[in-house]
């Protein structure tokens, strides 16, 4: 039988993490054995054929990212960093992967490190994920003992040290170059690009930087082949996807489904739809920094390309659902309070613009908004674009706002005209 849920099938129902013995018994570390038989270049080629794209939100092809790392081996050491600073509101998929099946991530990190000639790997975990930190540290110790980490892994010439870096909060730490600063013990502000991290990364060395879910896919590509991985998907992008739904749904949760599953199937079949008597109004398809989808858009495949036609993005693939019992302006206020607070303050448009947006939304919610506020909000959406800000935080903050102003325009206007929130 072909396994159609490679990332989650081994997970236990009692919530305990899959042990090393259980992982190996289910075919674990076979992907690593296969990879070590191949050249580095061949490993990257396999991943390229699988059409694996980054699951952190940007959807950049993983093999292409690894291919950017210079082949000039004089640049040593090289680093392999995995981003487990999961703090995108509405997103909880990496927690499941780390706490459910830690060795899958470790195996992926070893294979990835082998592919880019990295000798040290870091797993950057947010401080609030106490259990993830504990589970991963325990699993890494097991992997060292069993010879999957350390020198001469499985009798090969390849060696790798893998460490957990436990962070201490702040969304900003999940931005690629800010993560590298945080890892170096500096204030986590983003760095100017270029040079890009594959060339000049942590401590100035070539550095691969990937999301947890992306790397969890890698062992299965090496073990079962690129064709298998592509066949799991309903679209061009390879593999399965950990989709999720939270907010105004009956049964919130996470599900591993074929890449390209529609938002309608996720919300109405897996998450049970909106509560009885309530009406679906819209959803953020992949966390706080993705634009709203409406009922009309729900049949589009949730992959990296298809949602762009509707002005949105797959993002993290964890849906946040709004129904008619909650005020869309209030929801936007909640999102913008988050972004304003989490702005690192490094560049002026983000530091000044986001609190301004939050303050205007708050005034609207309190019935103190004016008609021209809607234009000023729209102006902020037009000005806080990539290229005008130092990193993608503020552009991500205005993506949902721009779509909310368009799709929920009447709701915004009612706040102004009635001088109160219709939901309060």
């Amino acid at each position: 039988m072909i396994e159609d849920k490679p990332l989650t099938s081994r997970m236990r129902s009692d919530g305990r993490a899959v042990s090393l013995q259980e992982y190996v018994a289910a075919g674990g570390y076979q992907g690593l054995r296969a990879a070590l038989q191949l050249s580095r270049h061949q490993v990257i080629e396999q991943v390229a054929h699988s059409n694996l794209k980054g699951r952190g939100g940007a959807g950049f092809p993983t093999a292409k990212k690894w291919g950017l790392i210079p082949t000039d081996l004089a640049r040593q050491p090289r680093y392999f960093v995995v981003n487990a600073d999961e703090m995108e509101p509405g997103t909880m998929k990496d927690r499941l992967l780390m706490e459910g099946d830690p060795h899958q991530l470790i195996e992926g990190m070893i294979i990835g490190s082998y592919a880019v000639y990295a000798s040290v790997a870091y797993l950057f975990i947010r401080g609030e994920y106490r259990q993830s930190n504990e589970v991963m540290k325990q699993a890494i110790a097991e992997a060292y003992q069993a010879g999957y980490l350390g020198q001469k892994i499985l009798g090969s010439d390849f060696g790798l040290d893998l460490h957990v870096h436990t962070s201490a909060g702040r969304y900003m730490c999940g931005e690629e170059t800010a993560t590298l600063n945080a890892l170096e013990g500096k204030r986590a502000i983003p760095r100017f690009k270029p040079p890009h991290p594959p060339v000049v990364g942590v401590w100035g060395k070539p550095t691969a930087f990937n999301n947890v879910e992306t790397i969890c896919c890698v062992p299965h590509i090496l073990r079962e082949g690129a064709h298998y991985f592509r066949s799991l998907s309903r679209t061009e992008d390879g593999g399965t996807k950990i989709y999720g739904a939270s907010g105004r749904v009956k049964t919130p949760g996470l599900w591993e489904l074929p890449m390209g599953t529609s938002a309608r199937e996720i919300i109405f079949e897996h998450a049970g739809g909106v509560p009885d008597g309530c009406r679906f109004r819209g959803c953020l398809p992949g966390g706080a920094s993705t634009a709203f989808l409406l009922e009309d858009h729900l049949d589009a495949p949730m992959d990296f390309m298809s949602l762009q036609a509707h002005g949105s993005r797959l993002g993290t693939g964890t849906l946040v659902v709004l129904d008619d019992t909650v005020c869309p302006v209030g929801m936007m206020l909640s999102l913008e309070i988050f972004f304003a607070r989490e702005s690192c303050g490094w560049c002026t448009p983000c530091r000044e613009g986001l609190p301004w947006i939050a303050a205007m939304l708050e005034a609207l919610e309190k019935g103190q908004g004016r008609q021209e506020d809607l234009h000023i909000l729209q102006e902020h959406c037009d000005l806080l674009l990539l290229g005008r800000t130092f990193c993608a935080l503020a552009p991500g903050a205005v993506d949902p706002l721009r779509s909310a102003l368009k799709y929920f325009h009447d709701d915004f206007r009612r706040h102004v005209i009635n001088r109160r929130c219709p939901w309060s």
Binding site: M92, A168, R170, E184, G185, A288
Partner: protein
């Protein structure tokens, strides 16, 4: 009035200036080198530092090691961490104040981090926050008079499928109701 130990709470373009206590001890340069950090903390910092090519990489870990023992990071301890890692006071402070889980002001015996992000908003965390404020008699950013609880807002805790959610010390709690909050608080002395 209570205290707001978090540098990053609250919306608003005007950053709150942190008042340093007048009595902040300034030791002359020749006395540098840690005298305050316990051997246990130093050992912890050194063990972690072995994972990195540069010692300063462990600055957050070192501050957390201090905080784990005294609840927050006072100026004296921060200076000791700076000295031990060969960094300036201000540089370490700029890192300490960046992280919302490092407290630069005293906190209660238990720190409540209530998630105020979108999934918890949609599932009604605001009513629970009101309940918490009323029950504890404090606002966000404050500590109860008996020093038992500090109440802080937190970015998405990644418990969206269990929303609304909160964290107390290192434990997470989902599917919150007012009754469940009362029960949870009762277990924290």
């Amino acid at each position: 009035m209570g205290v707001s130990p978090m540098s990053s709470t609250g919306v608003g373009p005007v950053a709150k200036k942190k008042k340093l206590p007048e009595t902040r001890a300034r030791r002359p340069c020749h006395e540098m080198g840690s005298i305050m950090l316990s051997d246990e903390v130093k050992k912890e910092i050194d063990a972690e530092a072995r994972h990195y090519p540069q010692r300063r990489a462990v600055v957050a870990e070192a501050l957390k090691a201090v905080q784990a023992r005294r609840g927050w990071v006072d100026d004296e301890s921060l200076r000791d961490v700076a000295d031990y890692l060969g960094l300036s006071f201000d540089e370490v402070d700029s890192i300490a104040t960046f992280y919302n889980l490092i407290f630069r002001q005293p906190v209660g015996r238990h720190v409540i981090l209530i998630c105020d992000s979108v999934s918890c908003y949609l599932t009604g965390y605001e009513k629970l926050l009101d309940h918490l404020k009323k029950k504890l008699g404090i606002a966000l950013g404050q500590t109860t008079a008996d020093g038992r609880f500090t109440l802080l807002p937190n970015a998405c805790l990644g418990l969206c499928e269990q929303a609304p959610a909160m964290m107390i010390d290192n434990e997470t709690y989902g599917h919150l109701t007012a009754a469940r909050i009362d029960e949870i608080l009762g277990k924290h002395e």
